[in-house]
Subunit: 394 residues, 2 copies
Amino acid sequence: MIAENLLPDFQLKWKRIQDSMRQCGADGCLLSVGVNLFYMTGVMYNGYFYIGAEGEPCFFVKRPNGLQEGRLSYIHKPEQIPDYFAQHNIPMPKKLMLEADELTYSDYMRLLKVFQPEETANATMALRLIRMVKTPWEIKQTMLCAARHEEVYSKIPQLYRPGMTDLDLQIEIERVMRQHGSLGLFRAFGPNMDIFMGSLLAGDNAGCPSPFDFALGGAGLNAICPLGANGTLLEEGMAVMVDMAGNYTPYMTDMTRVFSIGRLTDAAYRAHDVSMHIHREISKTARPGVACSELYDISYRIAEEAGLKDNFMGTTQQAKFVGHGVGLQINELPVLTPRSKQVLEENMVFALEPKFVIPGVGAVGIENSYLVTADGVKKITCSPEEIIDLNNNH
Amino acid sequence: MIAENLLPDFQLKWKRIQDSMRQCGADGCLLSVGVNLFYMTGVMYNGYFYIGAEGEPCFFVKRPNGLQEGRLSYIHKPEQIPDYFAQHNIPMPKKLMLEADELTYSDYMRLLKVFQPEETANATMALRLIRMVKTPWEIKQTMLCAARHEEVYSKIPQLYRPGMTDLDLQIEIERVMRQHGSLGLFRAFGPNMDIFMGSLLAGDNAGCPSPFDFALGGAGLNAICPLGANGTLLEEGMAVMVDMAGNYTPYMTDMTRVFSIGRLTDAAYRAHDVSMHIHREISKTARPGVACSELYDISYRIAEEAGLKDNFMGTTQQAKFVGHGVGLQINELPVLTPRSKQVLEENMVFALEPKFVIPGVGAVGIENSYLVTADGVKKITCSPEEIIDLNNNH
């Protein structure tokens, strides 16, 4: 089931979860959420991944047919797992890690009944912490993704035609994304994160509050999808913020760039410069050991000193973070928020997105993804950062 | 918050959940899953909907800012709800309905702690049963969706160019979908239903098993999205099955049509005719009171009599259903499966999709959505049903 050349990468991940299990005294970890299965095996399947505190994992598969591996067993239901354990002399876990923040209540209770552990621990939190720090293969996938992301963004000026709405432009970008290998699906963690391929916000729609926990909102097209483009006609003096998904490989990148229809107000360019300044300051500060809360504080302070705190991360509704981890999901840990307890570690990938909503103009500011290196950070989304005037470039 | 003209429609839904509560002795129902909130209010928000066995509901909103309504209260966390109840003389529920099959274990446990009910009941199952039978507004939205769905499918022959892959064609269809108002997001119930805007299956990729619980599979583009188009070059003699999302309004439609590159084998046309024959037989049989299991049995029997049982709903992996309810999610109840206990009721909307995988050719068969009427069913996806040769029509 697992590609031979990637085995060392997956073994590293198995070791990490086993370390995490030992730390909390767990002797078994059972996973069944798609992204977690993929993380541990490189395969999306319907079934379970089980690992004890020592030794190799077992794979229990319901679907698809035809997967092969030594420790792979086809099952119809989780109730068959204890029989497999008994036959293979695998002890039943006393303290079992389960995906408490992802499994439904019903599925969780069913697994409790199957395994009857004396204690449980939260595999969701353990996995989110492990997934923060990327493996060599994950970093390679992230870099491949960034290159496609940049290539697509370079084509945006050619896609613009006067008279377009925000949605017209977004549709053309979506098509070019797909032509460049975008997988379409855009995965986010948590129940309040409905999004389709990213967000394009033009003019005052950028300030429209949404129910979801993204950096900015937008009214969307329909009450059932209240986020992003809302049919705004792209007009002279409007900022067009493009934050479309970097989902070209399993490991995503996050990048935002701003385009204008003609010239924006001076205040808008100033705010955009403040965003770029925040990026420069964070690039100088960020390194292993630096607190994520400090990165938020630096960003907020720069925004405040520039007189832009009321525009920072929204106006009528302001997001309380300025960045977040990126990986199999777009909103991984760590979160760059004042309350974060995390510190940067080598091989984390995070996106920094100091954005400003300027009433009457739209949203400005850039977002880049960074890889944390041994002694700093490396920018991995390298498209030009200045506001590009679509009137002069299409 | 709720549009005045739609209030009777939502009041009907509130009455239905109250009827369901009385049936199981529940005196409170708390909802927080997006589609359920939308179902009950017409608004997607981050928060809670609460209704007792009698009286009007309360709306507790975390985001977005700016919603207004008499019984709407902004909260930061669910722990504030009991205070609101105390202030407004709303009794705490003794038997509380919670979304057991949708809420995460952690969220469910948190709500249990907040409300400390003596007993619980499963709001997910209650809502799925209520949502089966559509209200007048929902039916209108479904009809609007079907019209757009048909319009987009009518343009497919013009989108084909010789030399395209399955993915090339799908990308052009996706664009036309979006230009016709597709909301993009394609919502499904349950954890193993990852899909992006639908499925286009060409040639033998149609028989490739997937981990997800859709009618057919497909290898997909990447191990993280193992479903649908896989880059197959569209070649002479290949069937191209298009099952792209009907997500033009909140209430979806489901429709599959088959295109060919030149002429297919006689066996493929025969199997396609068998699918159309199943549709005709089901159209004659289906009416309120008919068991969903019977609709499956009829379909299977016709397939078997035609010598096609090994091709029915897949080859290496066969789906054990031939249709399903459609609404806010693509896989609603009832499911047309041998084990279903449900019977058809007036105003249900279901999709029927008898499909056959023909090795060396691809998948054939059609899918239509039907509205159950007082004395039968009405087909609501009315695009031409014969296999269209793209070589002659592009």
